[in-house]
């Protein structure tokens, strides 16, 4: 009898919290975040470490392409910026429950994600690339070489790299990791054949260990748009961010930042 009582109470509590979570979504949508940001004088940006989009330098300060974009955005809005480093696998739930206002974190626009959140127009394009182990993947040079049952591929969980690997390498065995560094570690130890990740990281990593790793494919095998993600139903914010991106592109700001973070390696000394 006591146990039944406990179970009932647990069910009631659970359904209550679920209802409340739904209500919270409605409540968040009522006020545009653009107004909220103006009122609180701070924009809270959700991000996760991804070299060279966002990372910490030797002094523990955040640097990277996304960080520059978010800082500029905050400056143009006349508010302070606050970064909320978040584990990538939980970043969309965190946005939906209002832990921050916007994700500026190199998030690829995908139909699946778009069902949960709204995306701005792309402010950048990224593509999937691959870095492979010289001994294990000896002679591999096409996607078909990797698309075999005995090939192991490591990727970061919940990323578009995972989706790309599932789509283009359906026969290979996937190994999922919470962080990119763990996937790369697996590759360095020769336990997997290759790591799939957004460019330019695979190229940078192969340059770091030239005697052990190589880049098998000459070009990126996907092209994907990258946008800010915001909660659904906030059209004012969507309009504001879209137009900010249009302006930033027209003024050459995005191209200049992209050249610095993705084509040059001048920032390497800042990190290590």
């Amino acid at each position: 009898m006591k146990n039944i009582g406990c179970a009932l109470l647990a069910v009631v509590l659970l359904s209550y919290t679920t209802c409340l979570a739904g209500e919270l979504g409605d409540q968040l949508a009522k006020e545009s975040i653009v107004e909220k940001i103006q009122k609180t004088k701070v924009i809270r940006v959700g991000m996760s470490t991804f070299v060279p989009w966002a990372m910490k330098d030797k002094q523990g300060k955040l640097i990277g392409f996304e960080i520059d974009v978010a800082r500029q955005l905050a400056q143009d809005m006349g508010v302070a910026v606050e970064f909320v480093p978040t584990a990538w696998s939980g970043i969309i739930p965190a946005l939906m429950t209002g832990k921050f206002d916007v994700i500026i974190g190199g998030m690829g626009i995908t139909p699946e994600r778009n069902l949960k959140v709204n995306f701005t127009m792309p402010y950048d394009y990224s593509g999937m690339s691959m870095v492979a182990h010289k001994k294990k993947a000896d002679g591999f040079s096409t996607l078909a070489d990797f698309n075999k049952k005995e090939v192991d591929i490591a990727v970061r969980m919940g990323t578009t790299a995972e989706q790309a690997a599932r789509k283009y390498l359906p026969n290979a065995r996937l190994r999922l990791f919470e962080n990119e560094s763990q996937a790369l570690q697996e590759l360095n130890l020769g336990r997997v054949h290759a790591v799939v990740s957004s460019a330019p990281m695979p190229v940078f990593h192969s340059l770091k260990y030239p005697d052990k790793l190589f880049v098998p494919l000459k070009e990126n095998f996907t092209k994907e748009p990258i946008g800010f993600a915001i909660r659904k139903g906030d059209h004012d914010a969507l309009n504001y961010f879209n137009n900010w991106i249009l302006n930033a592109r027209a003024q050459g700001f995005l191209a200049e930042k992209k050249a610095y973070w993705f084509e040059s390696r001048q920032w390497e000394d800042l990190v290590k």
């Binding site: 939980g90 209002g98 919470e178 560094s181 360095n188």
Partner: protein, 264 residues
């Protein structure tokens, strides 16, 4: 020669992640690993305070309360102990804290306070932007550990023999005074050391809250690994830090335990 672990060690840059010299002011500043270590200590301390309070109340209710109190205590203990702490922390952060903490507007209130006030809060709790995640992590951990403390306290009270109650009754003490003056002091001596052990395990369990992005030691380490790819150096450093913290605590507890045993 076959190398078991093919890895380039780069230990020399690790100390820089504890302390670095600010090029602008020339003063030493704490860096990510040290900040994470301090956050772990703060987080564990607050969860311990909460767990101690919750556990004692629930333990006393479970041992000496009437049927409704015992039912509540049982419900709490069995729920908290039979949910993985990881699940509890995530549930708490995404559902419960979104309702109560965010509705309270703690971070918004804090932002409107003076700099000194914000720095004080940052010293004892967390930075303004982190406050909601920190509080929800501390509360979730406190609830989780409190269930174990509750069982320790209940066991301690039940271990006091019935003869003590009867003796106190026969010299005319009221039930409340019997509990306060006779049972509780004896029980607390018995439970002090198991409880201290539970506090040490709180420190270890605190690594779990890295999933809700509280910037404690494990999270900072993982962020650092994602940026530098120094997987082994950083994991080893984190391991040593946790070990130093918990081992020194457990040594000092057993030292006190021995001293107390001699005095008795």
């Amino acid at each position: 020669m076959v190398r078991v672990l093919d890895y380039q060690w780069e230990w020399d840059i690790i100390p820089g992640y504890f302390l670095f010299r600010d090029p602008a002011t020339g003063r030493l500043q704490p860096n990510m690993l040290l900040l994470g270590f301090l956050t772990t200590i703060k987080l564990s301390a607050w969860s311990m305070v909460l767990a101690f309070f919750l556990g004692t109340v629930s333990g006393v209710m479970g041992a000496k309360g009437g049927f409704p109190s015992r039912l509540i205590s049982r419900f709490y203990v069995e729920t908290a102990r039979n949910i993985p702490s990881l699940v509890l922390v995530i549930l708490f952060y995404y559902f419960v804290s979104s309702q109560f903490l965010d509705a309270l507007g703690l971070d918004i209130w804090l932002r409107s306070q003076s700099d000194t006030m914000q720095r004080m809060v940052s010293f004892f709790l967390a930075d303004t932007g982190q406050i909601n995640a920190f509080v929800s992590a501390a509360v979730a951990l406190g609830i989780y550990e409190g269930a174990y403390i509750s069982e320790i306290v209940r066991g301690g009270i039940n271990s006091i023999s019935a003869g003590q109650w009867e003796a106190a009754w026969s010299i005319g003490l009221s039930p409340f005074n019997t509990f306060r003056l006779v049972v509780l002091p004896q029980a607390f001596r018995k439970v002090a050391f198991p409880m201290a052990g539970q506090f040490i395990s709180t420190i270890k369990d605190s690594a779990i809250v890295s999933v809700i992005s509280v910037q404690e030691l494990t999270f900072q380490g993982m962020e650092l690994m994602a940026a530098t790819f120094l997987t082994f150096e950083i994991w080893i450093t984190i391991t040593v830090l946790y070990f130093v913290l918990t081992f020194s605590l457990s040594r000092s507890i057993s030292f006190v335990e021995k001293r107390m045993a001699i005095r008795q």
